[in-house]
């Protein structure tokens, strides 16, 4: 009898201690194969897209949903890995401080707010102040080396993480890298290599064209210029020669001691909502603020249109339809400047007085109405149809009364949308050519060093066209509602980053015969709602 008690006691304890065991538990070492890859120390290099930047800022929950962090979590299912460390910011507000002061241009994140009519729009979150101090340098090495704003050659720049470099004009350092550089003179690549990665991903080059594109082509296309990248402006297109040189140098250094790696190429800017959301013809006759003005506007432009005809540039004529939405008026800096001719014709015809003729010449010398080929940037949506206060003031200084000045200062209607709001076809071609050149260099590097290659360009094109199915519908590139893009129209949502991670996993599995499981994009959030805005 005593024996039985003993058995019961042992069995009782045994049972209590035992979790139910599955026949093939996935946490056993060999359930998923790693193939030829070793994920134990994965390091990710790149820019904002790698850092987990979203909604115009870098904030905590965005970092937690960065594609490298998603990948690391899946790697951890396959293999015992080192802790995946990210240079986490301090809060979910997103802005940066330097010595206690907000850094201009590095403000809080965007959230989706609804107005009284129930119309949604992205607004800057004001519910909390930024608390991330960049001079507070983080300890230790970081697996996620994504630095928002970095261009290809920046990853090789000594001093890119120097606090004092932030004060230079223009800045020679990047506040995000200042936060976690191992020393002020360390380069991003050095800090990555110092971790002796067993596997890496590299997604760099977006900013080498993006600054040019998002600024509406206000920068310089440095293709073939021979200018040193140190002298580039922020919005310049990086010379593909410079890109290729920097890229190969990085891949060669990274590929040396790793079990494998994946390179990601650069998407065509025309696939992202920042350039595809605002229609070229947004001026609807049904708009109660705009519709009733159409006859007056067309009368106002009739004299100018006659001048355009006389000058044999009828394609520049401005006309607003009373039955369909009309294109905005834009300044096309690729057109010959006809200011003087316009002034001359208008003066000679006697249609307007000399001062007005001079003014029209200046204002309409390079304008035309937009066409489907022009891309209006996202930030133009907030200003089209509004009176441009700066122009209003200029015109009043010029001697116009306030009413006349206001009538000639309506953005996109009487005052052309300026260069920074429009990416005209010539500028698009420059961006496209540079992107194609970078992508060729990336593809070459992948084959030269036997690395995986994810065609993000094709992926984002698919997102923009048919979308990508997931368990609760379709993820596409539609702004706000599509699920892939965050509220800045360029960076991705957690769900969008999950799609990127899945594509990387697919490429890893194909290249290295691994069996890393994908994630379910349906488990990842899209845009964040909040009314805590101004």
């Amino acid at each position: 009898m005593r024996n039985c008690f003993k058995y019961i006691a042992v069995l009782t304890l045994g049972m209590v201690a035992c979790e139910p065991e599955l026949e093939n538990p996935i946490d056993e070492q060999d359930y998923y194969g790693t193939g030829e890859a070793d994920f134990s120390n994965y390091v990710a290099l790149g820019n904002s897209l790698t850092a987990g930047y979203a909604d115009g800022a870098l904030y905590l929950s965005g970092q937690r949903n960065s594609y490298p962090n998603i990948l690391a979590q899946q790697f951890a299912v396959v293999q015992d890995i080192n802790e995946f460390r990210q240079p986490l910011v301090n809060d979910n507000a997103g802005g940066l401080l330097a010595i206690g002061e907000p850094i201009p241009g590095f403000g809080n994140r965007l959230v989706l707010a609804f107005d009284e009519e129930g119309e949604p729009s992205p607004q800057v979150y004001t519910g909390a102040r930024a608390t991330t101090e960049v001079s507070n340098v983080l300890e230790g090495s970081f697996n996620n080396m994504g630095v928002p704003g970095a261009k290809s050659f920046h990853l090789l720049n000594a001093g890119y993480g120097s606090l004092t470099g932030l004060a230079n004009m223009p800045a020679t350092a990047n506040p995000y890298f200042v936060r976690f550089a191992s020393s002020p003179q360390a380069t991003v690549l050095e800090d990555a290599l110092a971790q002796d990665p067993s596997f890496f991903t590299l997604w760099i080059g977006n900013n080498d064209v993006l600054g040019y594109a998002t600024s509406g082509g206000t920068g310089v296309n440095q293709t073939g210029s021979g200018v040193s990248p140190a002298a580039y402006g922020m919005n310049d297109i990086t010379d593909p020669m410079v890109f290729t040189g920097a890229y190969i140098q990085m891949v060669e250094a990274l590929a040396g001691n790793v079990s494998g790696g994946v390179l990601l190429n650069i998407p065509d800017v025309t696939t992202v909502p920042y350039f595809t959301t605002v229609p070229y013809a947004p001026l609807s006759p049904e708009d109660p603020d705009f519709g009733p003005q159409i006859p007056t506007l067309n009368t106002t432009f009739s004299g100018l249109n006659q001048a355009f005809q006389f000058l044999q540039v009828p394609e520049r004529m401005i006309n607003f339809s009373e039955t369909a939405a009309s294109p905005v008026m834009i300044k096309d800096e690729s057109l010959p400047d006809l200011s003087q001719q316009i002034t001359k014709v208008l003066t000679e015809s006697g249609a307007v007085d000399a001062a007005t003729a001079a003014l029209y010449g200046l204002q309409f010398g390079q304008v035309r109405q937009a066409t489907a080929e022009d891309l209006l940037v996202l930030t133009s949506s907030g200003i089209i149809g509004n009176v441009n206060q700066q122009r209003l003031q200029e015109l009043m200084n010029f001697g116009l009364d306030q009413e006349t000045a206001a009538r000639l200062s309506v953005n996109g209607v009487t005052y052309p949308l300026q260069d920074q709001y429009v990416l005209i076809p010539e500028e698009q071609q420059e961006v496209e050519a540079a992107t194609a050149a970078y992508n060729e260099a990336i593809a070459n590097a992948a084959s030269q060093f036997d690395l995986g290659l994810v065609d993000v360009n094709a992926l984002l094109t698919q997102l923009a066209n048919d979308g990508i199915p997931f368990d609760a519908g379709i993820i596409n590139a539609d702004f706000v509602t599509g699920g892939a893009f965050s509220l800045d129209g360029i960076h991705l949502t957690p769900r969008g980053y999950a799609v990127i991670a899945n594509n990387i996993i697919e490429e890893i599995n194909a290249t290295y015969s691994s069996e890393v499981p994908k994630v379910n994009p349906g488990n990842y959030a899209t845009v964040t709602l909040s009314q805590d805005v101004e």
Binding site: L22, A472, N523
Partner: protein, 420 residues
């Protein structure tokens, strides 16, 4: 012989408990040790639950049986496609019973009982992959029943009484798979209701054609616990007119289904008793868990369950060893009421094989200690819940949640039998 039996008992121990759904079959240590049979057994005051008709056959003037069990029950889940896994870390459940009977005269026995036939305590890790269906649940129901047992003839008796039920429920889940506030904390809802009262009844009959053979039948009615004005608390809701969730009250109803039991027992070779029970649980009543929120801006929550009636087959054996020891063993097969495609992680139960054992130790003529244990062995099952939907109106898309589940439960229990 003795040794082999002991060994068999010990081994069986390792090889029993939960009925399907949220039924917890732990209403007496002696019966549980015999596979939770008892509708045709006259043993002790446990009859108050198993078949009140039998109480009148108890020899002593006053009979008492009290006891409790410790339920160690865990579930593990994994999804191979996405490499996800989770284990419950559920609190130890402690169902109890207390039965009292008083022999008023030769043909009438009166009784009072309290027991906990329904309940559930499941705790998944917060924000786990199935958190849009459940984070945790704690469901309790206490049945309190006055009883009368009447001997109609030497061979036939009946018994039963009204049941007062008082219950409580606390349930938390995330609102959706992704909704979070600005800090990235997941939006969730807790519904809490306690002091929910309802009435039911039970009635049993027993027929003993010979000294050694008994037949029993017992029916316990369905009880619908209707929570009115329970508290619904929403947390981590984004500040937006699109998510108008705020704390409110709710109404909901949860059924404790009716159960019909028939069975027989046979006493043989002087020291042995064998018993067989068949339970039929009318789970079909549980079609949907609907939560009706008082605030009209908050959409009501409809959760399809579509349970089906289920049966349990029970076998038990008792060996009266000597004046001090009585040994018991049993087995039952428990059919899950959950249909394929409705497998929600709040009650992740599939068909189970259950092994029981136990013994009684008579301290003296009046007191006996009853010990039992149960091991429930659930087959690993690949299942899903297919009726969670995302999107509104025509854009609504069902998003199944599934994977491989395996549950296990081990329940040691102790009780006391008093005869005066």
């Amino acid at each position: 012989m003795k040794k082999i039996f002991l060994l068999a008992l010990c081994v069986l121990a390792s090889a029993a408990i939960h009925a399907g759904g949220y039924r917890v079959s732990l209403q007496g240590q002696r019966s549980l040790a015999m596979g939770h049979t008892g509708v045709a057994l006259v043993n002790n005051a446990e009859l108050a639950f198993f078949n009140p008709a039998g109480l009148v056959y108890l020899e002593n003037k006053i009979n008492v049986a009290v006891g409790a069990s410790a339920v160690f029950s865990e579930v593990t889940w994994q999804n191979e496609e996405f490499g996800q896994m989770a284990n419950t870390d559920s609190p130890v459940g402690t169902p109890f019973y207390a039965y009292f009977s008083y022999k008023a005269n030769d043909w009438l026995t009166l009784g009072l009982s309290a027991y906990t036939p329904y309940g559930s305590a499941v705790e998944w890790p917060e924000d786990w992959a199935g958190s849009h269906l459940i984070n945790n649940i704690d469901l309790q129901a206490i049945y309190i029943q006055p009883l009368a047992s009447v001997k109609i003839s030497e061979k036939i008796s009946i018994g039963g009484g009204p049941i007062f039920v008082t219950g409580s429920v606390n349930f938390n889940r995330n609102l959706t798979r992704t909704l979070s506030n600005i800090e990235g904390d997941r939006a969730n809802i807790t519904v809490d209701a306690s002091g929910v009262n309802a009435w039911g009844w039970s009635l049993g009959g027993m027929y003993s054609p010979t000294e050694n053979i008994r037949f029993g039948i017992n029916y316990r009615s369905e009880v619908i616990l209707e929570a009115e004005s329970g508290e619904a608390n929403f947390e981590n809701i984004p500040n937006s007119p699109q998510t108008p969730f705020e704390d409110t009250q709710f109404d909901a109803a949860l059924p404790m289904p009716a159960e019909l039991t028939v069975g027989a027992s046979y006493h043989f070779l002087d020291k042995w008793t064998i018993a067989f029970d068949y339970n039929h649980s009318y789970w079909g009543v549980y079609e949907s868990l609907d939560i009706d929120f008082a605030n009209p801006n908050i959409p009501d929550s409809y959760n399809r369950r579509e349970y089906k009636d289920a049966s349990i087959y029970r076998f038990g054996l008792q060996y009266y060893m000597d004046k001090t020891f009585t040994l018991r063993a049993g087995y039952y097969f428990d059919e899950s009421p959950v249909q394929s495609g409705y497998f929600a992680p709040e009650t992740p139960r599939n068909d189970s094989n259950n092994f029981t054992g136990g013994l009684s130790i008579n301290i003296n003529d009046r007191f006996a200690i009853d010990a039992s244990f149960l091991y429930s062995r659930f087959k690993e099952v690949e299942e899903s819940y297919d009726f969670y939907a995302e999107g509104e109106g025509e854009n609504s898309v069902a998003v199944p949640f599934g994977g491989t589940y395996k549950s296990s439960a081990f329940v040691p229990g102790l009780g006391l039998t008093i005869k005066i």
